[in-house]
Amino acid sequence: MENSVAYEKATELRLGLPGIDEPAVLSSVKNNKRPLHDEKSGENGKSAQNETAPPSKAQIVGWPPVQSYRKNNFQQAKKSESECGGIYVKVSMDGAPYLRKIDLKVYKGYPELLQVLENMFKFTIGEYSEREGYKGSDYEPTYEDKDGDWMLVGDVPWEMFITSCKRLRIMKGSEARGLSCSGV
């Protein structure tokens, strides 16, 4: 029974990118559950009832009502942050009193990242060019890569950047200019 369901799913014709599952059905599969009334108020606006839901249930937001700091304590192995899905790096800016932390996985590319940094620290980044780095402002976003080298943000393709970036630093003034002239 289950095999045929899986086979059907695999050969199903539908519009959509490969590798994306259908939205998980959120109803209980316990067979002692009474039939639900017309419950359209399930999470994310999807209808909730389906007695033949797939065996593994999607987890409902906020249920059971245990705060996340309690839930996180008991992963079998201590998961590193990247295993949990996020790539967190610290961001500092010269002259700013506080450090910040961001999740690089959330952003789709450099423009979004730079926008976020601008908003976070309330400054403007200049225009980027491969040859001359960032022009038009005193600040330049830089990052420390896996080898410990300080690089200019934007010099490598985005995918390579998010896997090699260890921390970000928004440099100010002449120090920044020194980096941009070093070339790729």
Binding site: N32, S41, I60, G62, P65, Q67, R70
Partner: protein, 615 residues
């Protein structure tokens, strides 16, 4: 620890305690028949004497409820009460504005504010909803610079706010932040360095961002006044040497709760410096990785034994159970024990719990299984509060505890007043048994983690169990229900739950009738939080007579429409009706994803984010 651990700190009944200002009800003064005013000062000597006497007498009035009542007697009493109120409690920070609060109460020493609704703890609300401390700290800095204590729950506090606190209030003594966020270790550093009189710094279940600042080192040199330092929720390493020096120069320190970055060896060193501690959070309770092979283990047992005043123990964040015997000497004195981060078995628990005869508050993980609970029931005859948390908080996980342990507790711990119990299996019989064995129950929160799960023996809904609780537990003020529940359960609640103030409902009920029963039947209801239940606009309307008596109503993923909520908003001008969209929600027809409404003197707030619509 009891006062901080217990959620239900409300002992006040009507008149409403968070909405103290009912100036339109004040009658003219009985004695003189004239309106009290500034000019009266010279003329009527008997009045002046009366006011002085009144002021002296009202100083002794501490209960919020009594003060609220006193303020309603007449304008004179209203004024004097306002002058003598030193502790100001505001249960919903949006119910009243900082300006109004500071205008009325000018001599406040302690401010207690609550912000976000509780369901925000479970990610049911996008972040940045509100509850900012900032306008409050600014208003009080100007109007009430003698403020000494601030207690915040579920509020957003920034580093700047912490700086303002320390800079604007010269005698500031106590800061308690529960379930707060928005600040980091740099904010703490500034606060600590400027607060010369600090006695209490308690960070409880709060999110503190790691700005890599060594805040522990910021305590001023010389003898410190510190009585309580709680930072077990701070998720970043600390400068241990600085902490050790701090503890050594804090002779008044009674409460110390360490975070998980403090190893057991370091704990030992601190305890040697502070045998006078009454409340201890042990940190990781495991050795640091750098311990050498041949290092001598310190004598933990003797050190614990030396702490003769220790009554409240918590921590055990990364426990190595081999070290548990260290706490044997103090078990007999403990009134409060928090093992809710310690993944231990029944066998590991038994030698400890069998000595805890005086235990009143016990928090634990379900890893101890029904067997562990039986051991608790066998010894802890004084138990007042029990919380059993799940190691594996998922709907379909194995449940190591069930109705068996639950019933054992009810039979052994007859003085139980408060229970929070997460499980996968429960029976009506066990719940009924508890309702009979534990008549003193004030707080009953049962969370059967699988949604809509019935009595696993009979297959029946859990209606009768919860019905018995409201029927037999005559002091019940807080109730959280779960499992398969029909409208009948709510009929019981409406009929018998006459003292219920807080009710939590999830995935329950069949129809609007359920909500009607509750709104029409429970006159003391103040806080109602509902999720994923089939209640619609008609049910919402049935509470119109009562909403001004409530602190708030939360309904998410129910069957409310915009029109329905709009109707309420129009009918009740003093109610703020917020419709909250989740970040990635598409609008489903006309459905309201989340309704959060509360009474307020101020009308719609001006700091609502984009995803909130105020009707």
């Amino acid at each position: 620890m009891a006062e901080q651990m217990s959620d239900d700190d409300e002992r006040q009944q009507s008149p409403p305690s968070d909405l103290d200002f009912t100036s339109n009800k004040a009658r003219t003064c009985i004695v003189t028949g004239s309106v009290s005013g500034h000019t009266e000062f010279q003329s009527l000597y008997p009045d002046q004497v009366l006011e002085n006497v009144l002021e002296n007498v009202l100083h002794f009035l501490t209960s919020r409820r009594d003060r609220n009542s006193a303020s309603l007697v007449c304008k004179s009493w209203y004024r004097v009460e306002a002058l003598t109120r030193s502790e100001l409690f505001i249960g919903n920070c949006y119910a009243v504005s900082p300006a109004r609060a500071t205008a009325r109460f000018t001599r406040v020493r302690a401010l207690h504010l609550k912000g976000r609704p509780r369901f925000a703890d479970f990610n049911l609300m996008p972040p940045d909803w509100g509850a900012h401390f900032n306008p409050w700290v600014l208003a009080f800095a100007k109007a009430c610079p003698w403020l000494e204590k601030v207690y915040l729950k579920r509020m957003s506090v920034t580093d700047d706010d912490l700086a303002t606190l320390a800079e604007s209030f010269l005698g500031f003594k106590e800061l308690v932040l529960v379930c707060c966020d928005g600040f980091g270790t740099s904010g703490l550093a500034i606060f600590i360095s400027k607060c010369r009189q600090l006695k209490v710094l308690d960070l409880i279940e709060s999110e503190v961002s790691d700005d890599e600042t060594d805040w522990i080192s910021c305590f001023p040199e010389g003898e410190s006044h510190l009585e309580s330092l709680i930072f077990d929720c701070v998720e970043c390493p600390i400068n241990f040497e600085a902490l050790e020096r701090l503890v050594a120069r804090s002779p008044s320190l009674k409460k110390l709760r360490l975070n998980r970055y403090v190893s057991i060896g370091q704990l030992y060193r601190l305890m040697v410096q502070a045998p006078q501690l009454t409340h201890l959070g042990t940190g990781s309770f495991s050795p640091s990785e750098v311990a050498g092979q041949g290092d001598q283990e310190p004598d933990y047992v003797t050190t614990f034994a030396a702490c003769k005043s220790l009554v409240c123990l918590s921590g055990f964040r990364e426990i190595i159970p081999d070290y548990l015997p260290a706490i044997y000497p103090i078990c007999a004195n403990l009134t409060s024990l928090n093992f809710s981060y310690a993944n231990i078995t029944a066998e590991q628990l038994k030698p400890i719990i069998s000595n805890c005869h005086k235990l009143q508050v016990f928090w634990v993980l379900d890893s101890i299984c029904d067997e562990g609970l039986k051991a608790v029931a066998a010894t802890c005859k004084e138990l007042r509060e029990l919380r059993v948390f799940p190691v594996d908080a998922r709907e379909d996980s194995d449940g190591p505890v069930s109705e068996v342990g639950f019933q054992a507790i009810s039979e052994g711990c007859r003085k139980l007043q408060s229970i929070l119990y997460f499980c996968q299996r429960m029976t009506n019989a066990a719940v009924i048994a508890m309702s009979r064995n534990c008549p003193d129950l004030v707080v009953f929160r049962l969370c059967i983690m699988g949604r809509h799960r019935p009595d696993h023996v009979t297959g029946e809904p859990m209606d009768d169990g919860f019905g018995a609780i409201v029927m037999n537990c005559k002091k019940l003020t807080r109730l959280a229900v779960s499992g398969l529940l029909t409208d009948k359960a709510f009929d019981y609640i409406g009929r018998y739950g006459k003292l219920v103030r807080t009710l939590s409902v999830a995935f329950a009920g069949d129809s609007d009738m359920a909500l009607k029963y509750v709104l029409e039947g429970c006159p003391q209801l103040q806080k109602l939080e509902i999720r994923d239940s089939p209640f619609g606009d008609a049910a919402l309307c049935s509470g119109l007579h009562h909403y001004y008596n409530m602190r708030f109503l939360w309904m998410s993923s129910c069957r409310l429409t915009h029109q329905g909520c709009q109707q309420i908003a129009r009918a009740m001008p003093r109610l703020v009706v917020e419709v909250i969209r989740s970040a990635d929600e598409e609008e489903v027809y006309d459905r309201v994803q989340t309704l959060y409404m509360y009474r307020s003197l101020e009308g719609p707030r001006n700091d609502a984010p984009k995803f909130v619509t105020i009707l």
